[in-house]
Amino acid sequence: MTLWILRRLFQAVLVMLAMTVIVFIGVSVIGDPVEILISPDADQAERLRAIAALGLDKPLWQQYLNFLWGALHGDLGRSFVYNEPALRLIGQRLPATMELAVTAVLLAVLLGIPLGLLAGLYPNSALGRLAMAGSILGFSLPSFWVGLMLIMVFAVQLGWLPSTGRGATVSVLGVPWSFLTLDGLAHMAMPALNLALGNIALVLRLTRSGVRENLPMDYVKFARAKGLSPIRVVFVHVLKNIMIPVVTVLGLQFGSTIAFAVVTESVFAWPGMGKLIIDSINVLDRPVIVAYLMMIVLMFVLINLAVDLLYTVLDPRVRLESAE
């Protein structure tokens, strides 16, 4: 088990290294590093000085090592726009994005699993069919457009919810959070639902097909033959089996959800790092772009690692095999 974790950690480090190479190549070789790393407002003398200071006159491998060295020390350059360390900027925006993504994943669980159970247990009922049709729609909906429609209905027409922004926040440990105030929750409702839509459809389908797959199994009939109540059969026996694929997929989806927050944050003007990266791409604030990419790659690697670990906790069969 320990050996297995070490091996996974080693793989994670390798992926991180590969991504630094790709980002480095992207920034230094494909793009023009001078343009990328030096403010476009700089004059010629400043430019030359900066090139020397940044080591751009050195050979490529040495530049890469410098880049890596900086990355390891949390130094990915300063934002042109905000004139602050790029990593700190990302860090400031991170909580808002995380808050949104976690809420979206929670919504997917809270809505997707019950609807999926319903559709799986009663596939021919009107509600079951509706849930399935809704999930197909959920996959095809352009999420940014749904966001706009949500704003139109709930903010413009009905006036129930605020259309943009984060609302009132409460600071915990120096980080502002929206979910602790009613106003913040009202602001979060639409973006979170919007971001969750695809995940809800996904969880719904996974749960439904899991139920359909597990119900005819002998263990279900045996559980019934033991005289257990249908509630216990479904919510303990069947659900525990379904949770393995659902948690795995949802865990992996968490990374995608953070990435997709880019779109939702743009629609609802949610001040997270997704909004920041789009603004940064538009004004070519490249240090921020690099910082965002490295940060999100790191998150992905960590999430994949966590999902693998979680998987072994959930499925006793994997636990045994990996111990060998």
Binding site: A225, N241, L320
Partner: protein, 325 residues
């Protein structure tokens, strides 16, 4: 004389499909006494498993019990409220399934799966339920039951898993156990161990046992009574020695002839010609007639149940009275 544990009369279980009705169980009658073992024999698709599930009320749509009666200790099970049936299942009537690899939930520990069974029918503490579970495991011959309780099913071999399933069936010392081919998936040596242990347990607790199998040799060594099913009907029934020594129905004859035996070394194994008929909209008459060497025009009528003596029942116009070679 005591009342039998289970009396099944004219049981009919049908499956209504889009293209017709499958009479999986048709006019089946038998009874099992306290402490006795009934061997329910037949090929796959003969309706023997459906009979077992009918007794537990575990027939799922599109299947349904279309008629007949199942009396368990004097109580009618057909039409009984689901809640009441649930109180009997796993408590007074237990079931053991064919494939031990599939019957235990792979992601729940053994103790979870046992304790929930205890607590479904007895208002006892977690600790007491655990103690009972441990005792049941010990009873079926699982070494160090205390440790094994916290294991997962995949940590057991097939034979051990079936012992766990049997232990679960025994938790409430049921009056009736329906065992659906419980040793088919196991090695021969393990099969023998389990058979002898089950026989012992049934005798000790006075549990009545229905042993569903396609294997005549298992029935020969285990059961007191035998009922042979073909295409949803019991074609012949009686005491095991009597039926196996002097089979009357051509089908029973064929079954016995197809079992390899020490006494007939070198002789050719006979096989029954033809295939089991589809049960979908089966025409009236004896279902075996198309494979039967003795069939005549009379067989196109439903053969009545006759009692050719020695406590035997038969459903055939042309019983084979000569003894098998």
């Amino acid at each position: 004389m005591n009342e039998p544990t289970l009396v099944v009369r004219d049981l009919a279980t049908h499956f209504t499909l889009r293209n017709g009705v499958v009479r999986a169980v048709d006019n089946v009658s038998f009874s099992v006494d306290r402490g006795k073992i009934l061997g329910l024999v037949g090929e796959s698709g003969s309706g023997k498993s459906v009979t077992g599930f009918s007794i537990l009320g575990l027939i799922d749509p599109p299947g349904h019990i279309a008629g007949g009666s199942i009396k368990f200790l004097g109580r009618e099970l057909v039409g009984m409220a689901e809640r009441e049936l649930r109180g009997l299942r796993g408590n007074r009537i237990a079931m053991i399934f064919q494939d031990p690899m599939m019957t235990l939930n792979p992601v729940l520990r053994i103790d979870t799966q046992m304790i929930e069974t205890v607590q479904a029918h007895a208002d006892v503490s977690q600790a007491e339920a655990r103690r009972r579970s441990r005792d049941a495991l010990g009873m079926v011959g699982i070494p160090s039951p205390d440790e094994r309780l916290s294991a997962y099913p995949h940590q057991f071999s097939g034979g051990m898993r079936q012992r766990v399933a049997i232990a679960i069936a025994l938790l409430h010392q049921p009056d009736l156990i329906v065992a659906d081919e419980p040793t088919t998936a196991l090695d021969v040596t393990i099969q023998a161990q389990i058979l002898s242990e089950v026989q012992k347990l049934a005798a000790n607790f006075g549990t009545a046992l229905i042993w569903i199998t396609h294997d005549l040799s298992v029935v020969a060594g285990l059961a007191d009574e035998i009922a042979v099913m073909y295409a949803g009907r019991i074609v012949e029934a009686g005491r095991v020695e009597s039926v196996l020594d002097r089979p009357l129905h051509p089908y029973t004859h064929g079954l016995i002839g197809s079992v390899p035996s020490r006494n007939r070394r070198g002789a050719r194994l006979r096989q029954i010609p033809g295939m089991t008929p589809s049960l979908l909209d089966l025409p009236p008459g004896c279902a075996f007639r198309l494979r039967c060497a003795r069939a005549t025009a009379a067989c196109e009528q439903d053969p009545p149940i006759t009692a050719p003596g020695d406590d035997r029942l038969l459903r055939c116009f042309h019983p084979q009275l000569d003894v098998a070679a």
